[in-house]
């Protein structure tokens, strides 16, 4: 899961922080509160998750509990990957 966390962080930094040093993004920071992501960003994130981890995300899963921080994303992915394996 260490890898997944790194991959996710890299994606968020590359795409939403435009590659800025990520020292100020902690794993529990809310993307919403930090102004990191908007609704178009969420759709980009979902495409990334589906393509990289070969999972299918239901529209109804697009909620802050699943997506709104690195920690939430890792937990969500762990759950999704367990179900598929």
């Amino acid at each position: 899961m260490q890898n997944i966390e790194q991959e996710l962080r890299q994606f968020v930094v590359d795409n939403f922080l435009f590659g800025q040093p990520n020292g100020h993004l902690s794993s529990s920071d809310s993307f919403l509160d930090k102004g990191i992501i908007d609704s178009t960003g969420v759709l980009e994130l979902v495409v990334f998750l589906e393509e990289t981890y070969r999972i299918k995300i239901q529209d109804r899963e697009l909620v802050p509990d699943n997506l709104d921080s690195i920690n939430n994303l890792v937990r969500f992915l762990e759950r999704k990957l367990q179900h598929t394996s």
């Binding site: 590359d14 922080l17 435009f18 590659g19 800025q20 993307f31 919403l32 509160d33 102004g35 992501i37 908007d38 609704s39 178009t40 960003g41 969420v42 759709l43 239901q58 529209d59 109804r60 697009l62 909620v63 802050p64 997506l67 709104d68």
Partner: protein
């Protein structure tokens, strides 16, 4: 009438009714009124005078709404600054309007600390989310916002009224073609007039429950709050549309009747699986900021068959210009309708003469909703506010090109200047170009809007580099994101060997755009 009376009259009529819902908090009109009064008294005690400016730098929150009405009750002028605004621009705005107080969140304050010496006018800062329970951190000159709102020693009743309705109520900063933001001056009369016209054609009633996801720094978002309080309805405030299903669930749970959209939101909404959702309470949906593609209109009509869909058009300088009555939307989906109640609109040629139906010209707006001017920019103001036919009256030249059909319905054609409309927000190419030029290695830059299904227009930067310089798209976006609001960061960056110029040697955005279009084909 003054804007804060929207709240005061509704609180008098129905004190126990729910006025405001945001995240897990629900406030009645009485609670909103009393907390606003306390904050208003605290502002006065801090020395805020009639007509002085108070900036609100907060995301959509209970505190943002309370602050707006508290500032008005104190007799001052409010401005809401988008929370994604970077510190350079915030400093510029605070100094430009000489704000004497700032209401913000402790998290948003961090970047501003080092700028305090450059903010000579700013006397007080009220901050939400201060960890200590102390009322005041004297070293940092900070006042706790939450403690102020609940302070028992502050009166529950409003301060004595000092303003009249031709006094300023708000400044709304908007992108200008010069690259520096301009403060649109709105009087109480301007806002009351616009809100009255809009709630009239939307047929709003006290039972209305309006859900707003748009930032309050954007006048379309701000007016949702003002109008909900005016009619004595309920406003459901969401921080954003980032997690669409959270918002969809709220629409159902709160039995929302009115849902304002911009094209970006409707594009996302139409991509969602809404099977199993039913919106029996929803009465109307509105769109403004940019034209809704006809395809979206048809799809929205399918998703919400029983709902009235209002296609509208406006600009900050007069709030709203026109609306298309919902029964017309299937007949003329590309029209943005007619002038709203208590307002006159017409189209003129370059000499200011009215044109016949079908002829393209500049749209002119006449009404009490037209702004007082741009803050301390008399020349810019004179360009857009020109003499009307009554002595001394000013009418607004919108800079938007329109045509009108035989029955008086308006059709948007384009802008007279290069302003880009992205995600419903006006973006000045000059402002972004100034930031691009501050990046080492950039020799020339032009910023243009390119068509985008989701954003309306997406921002594209076209750049030539200095000899030997090496920059990537990522470098450019990273630099921009440090100096500009999120919505202004270019989505596309193109590098060219040279940029086309006009005969006078100026870079021509029009020719750059034509080149970009060719390349895409």
């Amino acid at each position: 009438m003054q804007v804060e009376e929207f709240l005061e009259l509704s609180a008098g009529r129905s004190p126990e009714k729910t006025a405001l819902v945001c995240r897990d908090r629900r406030l009645t009109y009485r609670e909103v009124e009393e907390q606003c009064n306390r904050l208003a008294h605290a502002l006065v005690a801090e020395g805020v005078q009639r007509g002085e400016r108070v900036a609100i730098y907060l995301e959509n929150s209970v505190e943002a709404v309370l602050s707006i009405f508290a500032v008005l009750k104190a007799g001052a002028v409010f401005l809401v600054v988008n929370p994604t605004t970077k510190v350079d621009k915030l400093t510029y705005i605070l100094n430009n309007c000489r704000a004497v107080a700032l209401i913000t969140d402790i998290r948003n304050l961090a970047g501003l600390e080092s700028r305090r010496p450059q903010l000579p006018h700013l006397k007080s800062i009220f901050a939400a989310g201060m960890s200590s329970t102390s009322l005041r951190d004297s070293e940092a000159q900070l006042v706790s916002l939450e403690n102020t709102l609940s302070r028992a020693d502050l009166p529950n009743l409003p301060p004595v009224k000092k303003c009249i309705d031709i006094d300023l109520a708000a400044l709304v900063y908007t992108s200008g073609s010069t690259g520096k933001p301009k403060g649109v001056m709105l009087t109480h009369l301007n806002i009351v007039s616009a809100a009255t016209s809009i709630t009239t054609y939307l047929e709003n009633v006290p039972d209305d429950v309006i859900l707003n996801v748009l930032p309050l720094s954007f006048d379309y978002g701000l007016y949702q709050v003002l109008m909900a309080f005016k009619i004595g309805g309920t406003i459901i405030l969401e921080p954003s549309f980032t997690y669409p299903y959270t918002v969809i669930e709220k629409l159902v749970q709160e039995k929302v009747t009115g849902f304002p959209l911009v094209p970006t939101i409707s594009a996302i909404l139409l991509q969602l699986d809404l099977k199993g959702y039913d919106f029996p309470s929803l009465r109307y949906v509105t769109n403004t900021a940019a034209a809704l593609p006809t395809r979206h209109i048809r799809q929205l009509r399918k998703v919400f068959p029983h709902v009235k869909l209002y296609s509208m058009y406006g600009l900050t300088e007069c709030k709203r210009v026109s609306y298309l009555p919902p029964d017309q939307i299937d007949l003329r989906p590309t029209s943005v309708g007619r002038g709203m109640p208590n307002e006159e609109v017409y189209i003129v040629d370059d000499n200011g003469r009215r044109v016949s139906p079908g002829v393209i010209g500049e749209l002119v707006v006449r009404g009490s909703n037209v702004m007082k001017g741009y803050w301390e920019l008399p020349e810019e103001t004179d360009k857009v506010l020109r003499c009307g036919h009554l002595p001394g009256e000013k009418v607004l030249y919108t800079g938007d090109l329109f045509r009108m059909d035989e029955e008086g319905f308006l059709y948007f054609v384009g802008r007279k200047d290069d302003i880009i409309k992205c995600r419903g927000e006006k973006v000045s190419p000059k402002e972004i170009e100034d930031v691009l030029y501050s990046l080492d290695g950039v020799a020339e830059a032009a910023v243009i809007g390119v068509p985008d299904g989701l954003l309306g227009q997406a921002i594209k930067a076209v750049i030539t580099l200095r000899e030997g310089a090496q920059l990537t798209q990522r470098d450019v976006q990273s630099h921009c994101s440090q100096h500009l609001e999120d919505f202004m960061v270019p989505k596309f960056v193109e590098f060219r060997d040279e940029l086309p110029k006009t005969d006078s040697g100026k870079i021509s955005r029009r020719l750059v755009a034509a080149g970009a279009l060719e390349a895409a084909e």
